[in-house]
């Protein structure tokens, strides 16, 4: 059942939030042991929250647009009184003394948080295999990865554990798992959603966004979490756009460009079945009245290399705070210096160590210009190329992921192969632009394919209109 319908029924008293919750807890109890989407399921807290919603409805109050809707939150967003681990040993057992702004907004809208979802440690990864607490499996085929790093949030929605969840996206960590699990995933414009209380990975790239089973539900959740927050200095001051009211306006007269460099002809590794679905998606937009043509956005292919310098550089700085002094793990030693090293060595997993070292190297004296400086200039080229493209097109189109979901363990031995799965999603993060993944049929293996709709900054309304057209025209999805 959609989040909109649940909220309507709970608000009007047709159904109780408690019965909605209990239905979802039943699905979780049945399949969570196999999927492992959650680091923690908050049964008692969720029941108390649902009962509170029901008593407010009984008292004639309106609990809000997400009244009684079960939601899951990625475990890198702070929740007061509830452990927040980032799926890392270094934060195991840490209980935040405050809520992230998005968590407060969910509660204020009447949503019921049912759990914190698994992720690649500190959101570093593309398969959720880097979690210190075990892998998450793809609900559509449990031998496959759910994607990452927000794999738990994507799997929770795909498995029917919750109709909505929150993820974070630094280089594709919402859109890629959404594509691999066959759900809708949105990375909003940088600054559109407050990051207060999101544990920082790469601060110039990180953005929180929604997962949902429908475009309309994703719009509903994005509207709830968007808007200015004085606690986040990068928060955009303007009021957020109304998405719900524009969803059915179609794409008549829109100009849409398929990014040549990310769509097969310009790049090795985009699978044939993914290219085929992209072509069908383009045809569907054309049939709905848009002009669709292939266009060159040349520097997007360099996004991957620039990203894997910039993101680790920012991470190496952000993760310096895990020193065993104020929170989290401490491994004792005779001196403070030895304590820092012992704590970080025991607390961080391999991928986090790799990125910290890569970032430390890229920022070190003598190598700064060759790596970090150069990557920041490439970022400028990408911003400029997008600006040129958006002077001719309202939206751009590409695959979300080069392939459908890959097998567990397939890419863990070779980090570079894993990184390549983010090649289509990274450019939007570097530019600060919104983009979203919409399920569009399946590949030769029967697993979902995602089509990525890209828009310029604050272009969410047009992006959602195109997404709604794609959703309506999509071939049947994967059978679960």
């Amino acid at each position: 059942m959609s989040a909109r319908r649940i909220a309507d029924e709970v608000r009007s008293g047709v159904r109780s939030a408690r019965s909605v919750l209990d239905d979802h807890l039943e699905v979780i109890a049945a399949r969570e042991p196999e999927i492992h989407a959650f680091n923690v399921v908050l049964v008692d807290e969720a029941r108390a929250a649902a009962d509170e919603i029901d008593s407010r409805v009984a008292a004639g109050e309106d609990p809000g647009p997400l009244a009684g809707v079960p939601v899951a939150v990625k475990d890198n967003m702070c929740t007061r009184g509830i452990p927040t681990t980032c799926s890392s040993r270094i934060l195991e057992g840490w209980i935040p003394p405050y809520d992230a702004t998005v968590v407060e907004r969910l509660a204020a809208a009447g949503a019921v948080m049912v759990g914190k979802t698994n992720l690649d440690e500190f959101a570093m990864g593309s398969s959720t295999e880097n979690s210190a607490f075990g892998v998450t499996r793809n609900p559509l085929d449990t031998t496959k990865v759910p994607g990452g790093s927000s794999g738990g949030s994507a799997a929770a929605v795909a498995a029917g554990f919750v109709p909505l969840s929150l993820g974070s996206d630094t280089g594709g960590s919402i859109r890629q798992p959404a594509a691999l699990c066959g759900v809708v995933g949105v990375k909003p414009t940088y600054g559109a959603v407050s990051r207060y209380g999101l544990v920082a990975f790469a601060s110039s790239l990180d953005q929180i966004g929604p997962f949902a089973r429908t475009v309309s539900d994703a719009a509903l959740l994005l509207e709830v979490i968007s808007g200015h927050d004085p606690l986040d200095s990068t928060s955009i001051p303007e009021a957020p756009a109304d998405l719900t009211s524009v969803l059915d306006r179609g794409v008549e007269g829109m100009r849409i460009g398929i990014i040549e460099e990310l769509s097969g002809d310009g790049l090795d590794g985009i699978a044939g079945d993914v290219q085929a679905r992209l072509g069908e998606a383009a045809a569907a937009l054309e049939a709905a009245g848009a002009t669709v043509e292939t266009t060159s956005v040349p520097s997007t292919v360099y996004g991957l290399s620039a990203y894997y310098v910039i993101a680790p550089a920012e991470a190496s700085s952000n993760l310096a705070r895990y020193d065993g002094v104020r929170f989290g793990l401490r491994v004792d030693a005779l001196t403070s210096g030895d304590m820092h090293t012992a704590t970080r060595t025991a607390g961080f997993g391999d991928e986090v160590k790799r990125r910290i070292m890569l970032g430390t190297y890229a920022l070190s004296a003598g190598y700064y210009d060759a790596y970090y400086g150069k990557s920041q200039k490439v970022r400028t080229l990408i911003v400029e190329d997008f600006a040129r493209a958006y002077s001719r097109y309202d939206l751009l189109l590409s695959p979300t992921s080069p392939t459908t979901a890959f097998s567990l363990g397939e890419k863990t031995a070779d980090p570079m192969t894993m990184y390549l799965t983010d090649v289509c999603t990274i450019p939007s993060n570097l530019a600060g632009h919104p983009s979203m993944s919409v399920p569009f049929g399946v590949g030769d293996d029967g697993m979902p394919v995602g089509v990525q709709v890209l828009a310029p900054a604050m272009g969410e309304p047009a992006m959602f209109r195109a997404a709604a057209v794609l959703e309506a025209a999509a071939p049947p999805g994967a059978a679960s």
Binding site: Y302, T335, M339, T341, K353, M357, Y361, K377, P415, L430
Partner: protein, 88 residues
């Protein structure tokens, strides 16, 4: 690099990481093909200016709650091993 990043690695780990990091840096060498001489760097997607808040007292974190999350505390302060005189 591991020392700078405050990480202790075994010889096996050092060997594996060295190979993997070299592969990532090799891939980044594709940027050498670009002419970047006259390009300004971009550090951030937004045209950021300093953001100031109103100078009024708002809610603050509870000291006991914050200290309760620390691994070691003494007299309302974070307790750490000796910083000076290391090696004694």
């Amino acid at each position: 690099m591991a020392e700078l990043a405050r990480l202790a690695l075994t010889d096996d780990e050092l060997n594996a990481f060295t190979v993997q990091l070299a592969a990532i840096l090799d891939h980044a060498a594709d940027l050498d093909a670009l002419d970047l001489a006259d390009v300004e760097p971009t550090a951030h997607p937004l045209p950021l200016v300093n953001v100031f808040r109103e100078d009024v007292i708002g809610p603050t974190s509870d000291r006991d709650e914050v200290l309760a999350a620390a691994p070691s505390v003494e007299d309302n302060q974070f307790r750490v091993p000796p910083v000076l005189g290391e090696g004694q």
